[in-house]
């Protein structure tokens, strides 16, 4: 039989997914342990997550330095001995820091968990923040910042967030030479004592987990005294960026980094899924309109994308790209044209179907390992979303109509409501 290669094979739509549930245990001291036991490989990831990012700090940088200094010395081990203790087991550690949260993350072979746990507990309970190591970290942070400041992408994103939220707001703040140099030992120490040593945290364990591991966790992380819940400070977003354009001149740069966007909302908002689909059409995937126009048709860039970014207490929309300097204005014009098109012309059913199918498949494909499942469960547990939020993901995506897309584009994508930041030049 002659094969007709011009006809696509039949396919099935993904109609639903089922996010494996976390088993939750309460340790003796009231700390919650969530376990995702999945996988054939004998590996484990353990995370201790503290609600103690920039949002909670008294001095800019205190939360960053507090978490990074955990592995730089305890009452029993010095910095080199701590690295040695984890490295000896082949364990990788990561001191995680975001605007909202900080945490200790350890990846190890499951058989080494019994040796990893006492180390983790020691870092949380007995960190000493030694002065020599603090000065070293301060120096390394300053040098890294210097390198980052040579990167247009870093400059553009930092300025973009500063303009959106204001530099008084934790989501608008970033490291700079002054705040790194001025950060006091006391501020770091206080952040550590209040939020880490005596702080309430959440443990997430993912991978090949055994019953005995749960007991071990209770014995190591479940015995310490935990302080009371910490009040969450309130911040107001100062929004005076609309319609502005900010240029950071870099005369030697061959390319410009462009960031364009606005403050939006997070997963709790009723328009979240509609906006997710709208964003996907505009710049969320490789076949998006921005990618087609600006990369595939005009060859102005290696890549362009748009995002609906969600933080614990807010969210924002951002379009980002790097282009040859002389294409900067042309690119911004073309972005605006694509937005106008989305606001005025109803999207065709074929394109909308492709986008929705892609999003469904991408979502189903992003839940295959214990770590991916744990990352989704963390969003639900830490951001207080309904337990079935992700189980409805595909239904909600499939329910979005072409009218919804028009409405979203008109409500949330007006260029006059956005700021444009350019690092490089025009």
């Amino acid at each position: 039989m002659q094969l007709d290669r011009s006809i696509a094979p039949d396919f099935k739509l993904i109609s639903s997914i089922n996010l494996p549930e976390a088993q939750t245990h309460t340790l003796e001291n009231g700390i919650l342990l969530h376990v995702i036991n999945i996988g054939e490989q004998p590996v484990i990831r353990i995370e201790c997550i503290f609600e103690a990012g920039n949002w909670y700090e008294k001095q800019i940088g205190a939360s960053y330095f507090a978490i990074k200094m955990l592995s730089e010395g305890t009452s029993r081990l010095n910095s080199g001995e701590i690295s040695e203790a984890f490295d000896r087991l082949g364990a990788f550690t990561e001191m995680m820091h975001t605007s909202d949260r900080i945490g200790i993350v350890v990846y190890c072979l499951s058989r080494f968990l019994p040796e990893v746990l006492p180390l983790v507990s020691q870092l949380i309970q007995h960190a000493t923040i030694p002065e020599k190591e603090l000065e070293e970290l301060r120096n390394i942070t300053l040098q890294n910042l210097k390198v980052n400041k040579e990167k247009n992408a870093y400059l553009a994103t930092t300025e973009f967030r500063a303009r959106l939220f204001g530099t008084e707001h934790p989501y608008g703040q970033s490291q700079d030479e002054d705040n790194i140099e001025q950060l006091s030992f006391d501020a770091i120490r206080q952040h550590y004592n209040q939020f880490i040593k005596n702080g309430r945290f959440t443990v997430v364990l993912a991978g090949q987990v055994e019953e005995a591991d749960i007991t071990l966790i209770n014995d190591t992380l479940g015995k310490s005294q935990i302080g009371p819940h910490q009040a969450k400070p309130a911040f107001i977003v100062k929004s005076a960026y609309q319609g502005q354009e900010a240029v950071i001149e870099k005369p030697d740069a061959v390319q410009s980094s462009i960031r364009m966007g606005r403050v939006l909302f997070n997963r709790h908002h009723e328009d979240y899924f509609k906006m997710l689909v709208t964003n996907e059409i505009l710049g969320g995937y490789f076949g998006s309109r921005l990618m087609k126009n600006i990369r595939e048709e005009k060859g102005l860039t290696y890549g362009i994308s748009s995002h609906v970014a969600t933080l614990r207490n807010a969210g924002y929309f951002m379009i980002g790209t790097d282009v040859k300097k002389e294409f900067t204005e042309l690119t911004i014009e073309e972005i605006k044209k694509e937005i106008t098109k989305l606001q005025t012309e109803r999207i065709g059913e074929e394109e909308l179907t492709t986008v929705k199918n892609f999003m469904a498949g991408e979502f189903a494909g992003s839940l295959n390992t214990a770590f991916e499942v744990a990352d989704r469960q963390k969003v639900l547990l830490l951001d207080s979303l309904p337990a079935d939020f992700f189980n409805h993901y595909i239904d909600k995506i499939q329910a979005v109509t072409s009218e919804d897309v028009l409405e979203m584009a008109n409500l949330y994508l007006k260029p006059e409501d956005m700021i444009v930041v350019i690092a490089g030049g025009k």
């Binding site: 094969l3 290669r5 696509a8 094979p9 039949d10 396919f11 739509l13 993904i14 996988g39 490989q41 004998p42 590996v43 592995s71 910095s79 080199g80 690295s83 040695e84 984890f86 490295d87 000896r88 087991l89 082949g90 990788f92 990846y107 190890c108 072979l109 058989r111 080494f112 070293e136 120096n139 390394i140 040098q143 390198v147 040579e150 990167k151 247009n152 030697d252 740069a253 061959v254 390319q255 490789f286 076949g287 048709e297 005009k298 060859g299 102005l300 860039t301 290696y302 790097d322 282009v323 040859k324 492709t354 199918n357 892609f358 498949g361 189903a364 494909g365 295959n368 390992t369 214990a370």
Partner: protein, 440 residues
């Protein structure tokens, strides 16, 4: 019609010690046109990964036409003979795809719901049959690649490091140019005839490896492979004829400067290729030197003496003999010469006395853990099979853990003596370019 020759070879039996990495089970067959197919069944996921590796990389390029393997990777997404757009059908069935080019290979992959795996066969077989050779696609992708060159190699601090290092370390072997190309003019000059020649020379079934992994049976893959790839004609067998890099006999130095924030040193040493004898001894040696905060370079040159503010070591893992690389950023006030001497002292100590038993146990645990973590992802398992099969023996994908386990203190000491010799080194001093003095 093609004909399948299943081998149904189980792998990984007869090991009686506890091992922490799980064998990647597979079965294989070869189509009449020479396409080698490997199947890794895994029904714990609803997804499938389809990985197709073409045995062509930048080392196969003509010196006057560099950057071609990579440009080609871009063209492969510009439509094929019967399918005008590659990406939309993938997205439409909920799949994701991408590709990469290395000095050794060009690799394409799709992950998608296993129910829709036939879409991947349809797309991949049509672009193996023939591309559309649309002139407009060439024009646009040429521009995209030039922008990629700028974004990744010119517009980043230290972005041109490899462009400088490769020709310093390699004098004869084509690893002396980067995958993006030696000169961006080569991309600017590429013609449609060049494109067609390249395609029919390298993109043939007998020069490719197909791996299908995930929730799909071996029998189903056999049926689909036969249906979609069976009637693609084989090409002339490609016989690789690449000059061997002569043994280096004296230390090489090069200085460069750019508007970078910090002085930097990069040192490379020739070492065995990815599947050659001695690869893992060299790999673990680089870990002893510069993996993590307990490594020698970090402890001695960042912690004990504040010479660097970042320093690490790694290996390139290329198929032909590769490079062990040490890279560090200097603290202000330290001269490049002083930092170089300090690195050389650490290296000499390792040549003289080797690594300790504790260090070797540590880096073996680290490697074992990296391997186990890398195999958590279905797509990585598929790629590991494809890389090993392409290099000569698919079972190599399952032997890494044993090789690492069997390494001794003595193996690493030998590796140090062979590899870290000064006359085997190339050193790049990357100097901060001082701008015009500011007006006071």
């Amino acid at each position: 019609m093609g004909f399948c020759r299943p081998l149904n070879k189980p792998s990984g039996f007869g090991k009686n010690f506890v091992r922490s990495t799980i064998m990647i089970r597979y079965k294989q067959f070869t189509l009449e046109n020479g396409l080698k197919v490997f199947v890794h069944e895994d029904f714990s996921t609803p997804m499938a990964a389809v990985n197709i590796l073409y045995n062509v990389g930048s080392r196969d390029e003509d010196e006057e036409r560099t950057g071609f393997a990579h440009l080609f990777e871009h063209l492969m997404f510009g439509g094929s003979q019967h399918i005008p757009n590659y990406d939309i059908p993938v997205q439409n069935v909920g799949g994701e795809n991408n590709a990469f080019t290395s000095p050794d290979i060009t690799n394409y992959y799709i992950t998608l719901p296993a129910d829709n795996v036939e879409t991947a066969f349809w797309l991949e077989s049509d672009r193996m049959l023939s591309l559309s050779f649309d002139p407009n696609v060439l024009e646009v992708q040429r521009k995209v690649v030039i922008e990629e060159f700028k974004q990744r190699y010119l517009n980043q601090p230290y972005g041109d490091m490899w462009l400088k290092l490769r020709p310093l370390a390699y004098k004869e072997h084509p690893y002396r140019w980067a995958t993006i190309g030696k000169d961006i003019e080569h991309i600017e000059r590429a013609t449609m005839d060049d494109v067609k020649d390249f395609f029919f020379r390298f993109y043939r079934p007998n020069n490719a490896i197909l791996v299908v992994a995930g929730a799909i049976t071996f029998e189903e893959v056999q049926k689909l492979a036969e249906k979609w790839f069976g009637n693609i004609p084989a090409g002339q067998p490609y016989v690789r004829n690449i000059p061997k890099e002569p043994v280096q006999t004296e230390a090489r130095y090069l200085e460069t400067s750019a508007a970078v924030p910090l002085n930097s040193i990069i040192k490379v040493f020739h070492m065995p290729g990815r599947y050659e004898e001695g690869f893992y001894a060299a790999d673990l040696l680089s870990d002893v030197l510069g993996r993590g905060k307990s490594s020698r370079l970090y402890q001695k040159l960042l912690k004990e003496r504040a010479i660097f503010n970042s320093i690490n070591a790694s290996v390139t893992s290329s198929l032909d003999p590769g490079l062990l690389l040490i890279k560090g950023n200097l603290n202000p006030g330290i001269s490049l010469e002083e930092a170089d001497r300090a690195v050389n002292e650490v290296l000499q100590e390792l040549i003289d006395t080797g690594a300790t038993e504790e260090e070797v146990t540590k880096v073996k645990n680290q490697s074992e853990a990296s391997l186990a973590f890398s195999e958590v992802e279905l797509l990585n398992r598929a790629m590991n099979l494809a890389f090993a099969a392409n290099a000569g023996n698919v079972d190599w994908a399952n032997q890494d853990a044993d090789i690492i386990r069997d390494l001794t203190v003595n193996d690493l000491h030998q590796a140090a003596k062979n590899i870290l010799r000064p006359e085997n080194s190339s050193t790049l001093f990357y100097r901060v370019e001082t701008k015009e003095p500011a007006l006071v």
